[in-house]
Every structure is written in C-alpha cells, then in structure tokens.
C-alpha cells in the first residue's frame, strides 16, 4: 500500500517567530526523505506537524488524502511512529517495557499475545534482543536510539518520523542506525522522514532531500540536486567543495564572511 503524505502550505508561529512559512511537500512510501538545514530552520517543527504534535496555524497535512486533524491521535499513532530527538534522560523501565509502550495505541490493559509478539519482532528488527531485560537507564546512547526506534516500530507504523537519529552517536552507530532505517524502509515499505544535520550521511542514505532555510523550502530533490556549493553557501553561509567519488561528499572550506 502506498502511503502518501501531502503537506500543504503549512505555517507555524511560535510567538513572533515563524518556524515554518508556507511549506508544501509530498512524501512517498518506501522512500527516505531527509530534512536538512541549519539550526532553527524548522526541521523538528515540520516533523512534529506531520505527526500532529504541533498544530500549524495555517495549512493542512494529509495522510492518504485524509486531513490529519480529522484523525484521532490514537488512530494516527497506529499509522505513524515518531522517534524524538532527545530521549528521556531517565526511564525506570526495562527495554522490553519501553518497547511495549509502542503498543499503547492498541492495548486497553493487558498486553495480548499479539502485542508481545509485535514487541519481540520490533526488538529483533533493530537487533536489541539481548537487551530485553536491561534497564533503559543502563544503556549507551546508540542502544537507546535503537530502543526508541523499536518502540516506534512496535506501533506498526506506515510512516516513520525520526528527529536527528544519528546525533550523539559514533560513526559506527551512525552507519548502523541509518542502514537499519534504510532496510526498514525497503522491507516494510515505510515512508521515512528524518531530520538530520550531517549532510554526508543524509546524502548517502536518502532518496529525497528537503533543504530548509528560515522555515521555507529552499531546495528539494535528489541529494545531488540539492547539495550544490551554491545552495550550501546560500543556506548555511559556508563555502564547500563537493566530491562525488565514491559517495557524494561535502567538504567545508570556510565560513562565508
């Protein structure tokens, strides 16, 4: 089933600051879309709008043609998983219990056999079976990130939203997590949208790239189309050289005065 998200003309204001200003974009299933842009460009806000966490002051988000404001939050939670940027510092639960929170949109009191099976599958999918009985607080940053992804998977979503899934991770874990996300997108035909800072990782793992500047879409397209020296100079104020062999690589030269 092809899930399509249509974001139409979304504007979000926090007080006098416009976090998003007339953003429109269409997202397809089975594809990984990356949102890049400098700090404060509106990446997180865009993800939260798609998830219905933030209500835009203008504009609409459609999920398969349905206005998400008309979908109950609990129904939406069965279709969209969201991996937050900042995991809680302390969570007094075991890994199994944490991943089981992803079943919240389905359960009323007891975890059914199916719920438990789904939790187990989600843990296997991200490779954290061995952590099942450990406490969340005892885990490393990379392990926590995997637990949170497993939690989102336990929601059995069609859409997976990730906010900076690789920040605070070493390069091995960065690659592991992004490979995992790519595999999930292909296998489960998920619509994946992630906000990400690292342009090189973003270019390597995404099909479509959205470059935001001051709450507006500055450029959109394949990584090669978006990551040009001109765009990066304009959006980040940084002079770069782009290498293309074997992967696209953005090499910063210096800050534009």
């Amino acid at each position: 089933m092809a899930v399509k998200i249509v974001v139409r003309d979304i504007t979000v204001s926090y007080g006098s600051i416009r976090a998003l200003d007339g953003v429109s974009v269409e997202l397809e299933s089975g594809k990984i879309t990356s949102i890049v842009g400098p700090n404060g460009a509106g990446k997180t806000t865009l993800l939260k709008c798609i998830n219905g966490i933030v209500r835009p002051s203008a504009g609409v988000v459609f999920l398969d043609g349905m206005d998400i404001r008309k979908i109950k939050q609990i129904k939406l939670a069965r279709r969209m998983g969201h991996v937050p940027q900042l995991p809680p510092l302390h969570l007094p639960l075991t890994v199994f219990e944490t991943v089981a929170l992803g079943r919240r949109p389905y359960v009323s009191w007891v975890l059914s056999k199916k719920d438990i099976r789904t939790v187990e599958e989600a843990m296997k999918a991200v490779g954290i079976e061995h952590l099942s009985d450990r406490y969340f607080d005892e885990l490393s940053g990379g392990e926590r990130q995997k637990v949170l992804i497993a939690m989102a998977l336990a929601q059995e979503p069609e859409v997976l939203l990730l906010d900076e899934p690789t920040s605070n991770l070493d390069i091995r874990h960065q690659l592991e997590i992004l490979n995992l996300i790519r595999r999930l997108a292909r296998e489960k035909n998920l619509t994946v949208v992630m906000a990400i800072h690292d342009l090189n990782l973003a270019s390597r793992f995404s099909d479509i790239m959205i470059m935001l500047k001051d709450g507006r879409i500055f450029a959109i397209g394949s990584p090669r189309e978006v990551l040009t020296p001109e765009n990066i100079r304009e959006v980040y104020g940084v002079e770069v050289t782009i290498l293309t062999n074997p992967h696209l690589l953005v090499v910063p030269i210096g800050v534009v005065p």
């Binding site: 219905g52 939050q73 639960l93 949109p105 939790v119």
Partner: protein, 344 residues
C-alpha cells in the same frame, strides 16, 4: 523468548500484589484487637458472630463502633492518598509531588480554620460545618491551581508552580486565622491541622467509600501515565493527550483527597511515600504501580494509626506524627539501599 523476563516480572508483581491484599485483613484484624481495652481475637470473632452478643457488650461496642470503622477508614484513606500521589507524580512527572501539591491540604486547612475560628461556612453546623468548609476550600484551591496552570498550557511545571503558589496563599490565610483565634479555637484548629483518624464513624465511612469510588476511573489512565514518562511530545505521538490526562488525574484525585482530608485533616507523607515504596517493589509500570501503591498506602496508614493509638497508651498520638517519625527513617533507608535509580 524475549518476553520471558517480562512475563517473569509480571508474575512476581502479581504475587506481590496478592501478598499485600492478604496483609490488609490481617492489619484490620490486629487494629481491632489492640487498644486500651484488650480483646482477644477469638472473642472478637465470637462477638461479631453472635447476634445477641452475650459476650461483653462494652467490648462489642468498642470494636463495632470505634475500632472497626477506624481501621477501615485508615485502609481507605491510606489507599486514596497513595493513589492520588502516584497519579499526580506520574502525570506531573515529578517525584516530589504529593496529593497536597495541588493545594488540597492548605485549602482544606483554610476552610476548616474559617469554620473553627470565625464560624463562617457554606453549609451545616458544628463538626459538619468544618467538614463541608474543608471540602469546599480544598476543591477551590485545586481549581485555582488548575486555572492558573491552564494559562500556561497545563504543562507539568505550570501545575506544580501554581499549586505551590496557591498552597502558600492558603497557608498564610491559616496563619492569619491562628493569629486572631481565641485560645480554645486555636487548640481545636491545631488539633485539626495535625490530622488524625479518631473521628472515624460508620457515617463518615460512607464518604470515604465515595472517595475510593472516585479513584477507580483513575486506573483507566495507567497506560497514559506510562507513556507520559517519555515526555509530552512522545506521549502525543503514542496517542495520549498529556494535558487531558493531567486535568483528569488532577480533578479526580483532588476530589477524592478532598473528601478524605475534610474528615481526617491533612495526613501528610503517605501520598508521597507509598508510591515510592511501591516503585521499589513492582517497578514503574502504572498498571502494577497504582494498585500496589494503594495497598501500601492502606497498610502504612493502618500501621501508623495502630502505633499512634498504642505506643503511649492510653494517650493517642496524632497519626501524622507517627508517619513522619517511623515512616521517614524507613523510607530513607529503603531509598538509599536501592542500587538503581527508581525515579526517572
């Protein structure tokens, strides 16, 4: 099986719950047997079984009209305070929160003080004036707190800060009334403010049952409180409405606690301590945490009241003093002993 650890843990939790359930009738039974007038447990059973109570009618009256309602009151009041404590700590994501954080106890105290010192009240007279006043002002304090917090989007911080502000306001009111009170009024007020269960009766027990019933819908929020541990945004994306959960938990628990406090006065510490003790034994899943807290709260208050009644017999101590004197060292000991961080 990945879930084997979870299943094992769940079984252990159910077992702990059953043990606590079994302990309840035991403590009620002991409470009924011990006191200034000693009654043997066997005589007690005979007394309650024989319809024409040929056994000592005084003993029968003491047990039936004094000790039993008081023991049941301790059980129910303790459970209500503990449940309110656990849902408020959970929904406000703060380990220092107690049922009184919303201003319930200071509101109730102010209401009682108004009735005792100035004789001003909403309805009723005498003891009922105090009770009705305490109840109304406890709810009023809660609504002021939630009203202020609403202006700031009902975030956890806004509720706590508003609650503390309201608490100070009503406490100042109580202090003022103490200042203008005459000697005998002051005595009564101070006694009321200590909080105790000596006024328990079958009649008052009916209201306490009502308070317990008010707490029942709170169990519906167990999963919501679980996902709230992840933070507001994550809770939303899991289908929980954080501010709705907070308002519902705050209103229901404030109502239940107001009913209890207007009869017993502010009995502190149970609502703070019971949830933490429960976390030590069953972990933080609210489906287990809520009933366990309720049972631990019931047992704690029953035990504390038993000690308060008997430790300096025939003198009775206020139960609040006992919870503090004996509860705090136990609590600190248990908290220090655990290796793991039980609070997030």
């Amino acid at each position: 099986m990945l879930a084997s650890g979870y299943t094992r843990m769940s079984k252990r939790r159910v077992f702990v719950l059953m043990l606590l359930v079994l302990a309840l009738p035991l403590i009620v039974f002991i409470s009924m047997s011990v006191g200034v007038l000693p009654v043997s447990p066997l005589g007690l059973i005979l007394a309650s079984l024989s319809p024409n109570h040929e056994v000592n009618p005084v003993a029968w009256a003491v047990i039936w009209y004094l000790r039993l309602p008081r023991a049941l009151m301790a059980v129910m009041a303790g459970a209500v305070l503990a449940i309110a404590g656990v849902v408020l700590q959970g929904s406000l994501r703060n380990p220092l929160v107690s049922p009184f954080t919303l201003g319930v106890s200071s509101g109730a105290s102010f209401g009682a003080a108004l009735a005792i010192v100035l004789g001003v009240g909403i309805v009723g007279m005498g003891a009922y004036l105090i009770m009705a006043n305490a109840f109304v002002f406890a709810l009023l304090a809660t609504f002021i707190t939630l009203g202020i917090a609403r202006l700031r989007g009902m975030t956890a911080e806004s509720v706590i800060l508003a609650g503390i502000a309201v608490m100070y306001m009503f406490s100042a009111g109580v202090t003022l009334l103490q200042y203008v009170a005459r000697e005998w009024e002051l005595t009564e007020l101070v006694y009321w403010l200590m909080g105790d269960l000596s006024k328990a009766s079958w009649h008052r027990l009916r209201y306490t049952v009502l308070a317990v019933i008010v707490c029942i819908p709170l169990f519906k929020f167990a999963w919501d409180l679980n996902v709230l541990m992840m933070g507001d945004d994550a809770a939303k994306s899991l289908g929980t409405d954080p501010s709705m959960t907070r308002v519902a938990c705050a209103c229901l628990s404030a109502l239940a606690v107001s009913i209890v406090v207007c009869m017993t006065g502010p009995i502190g510490f149970i609502g703070l301590m019971a949830p933490h003790l429960a976390r030590l034994v069953v972990g933080s899943d609210h489906r287990f945490l809520m009933p366990t807290s309720a049972l631990i709260g019931a047992l704690l208050l029953s035990t504390a009241d038993l000690v308060a009644r008997t430790i300096m017999m025939p003198l009775e101590l206020p139960v609040g003093v006992v919870t503090a004197f004996f509860g705090v060292p136990l609590f600190v000991h248990l908290l220090l002993r655990t290796r793991r961080e039980i609070w997030r």
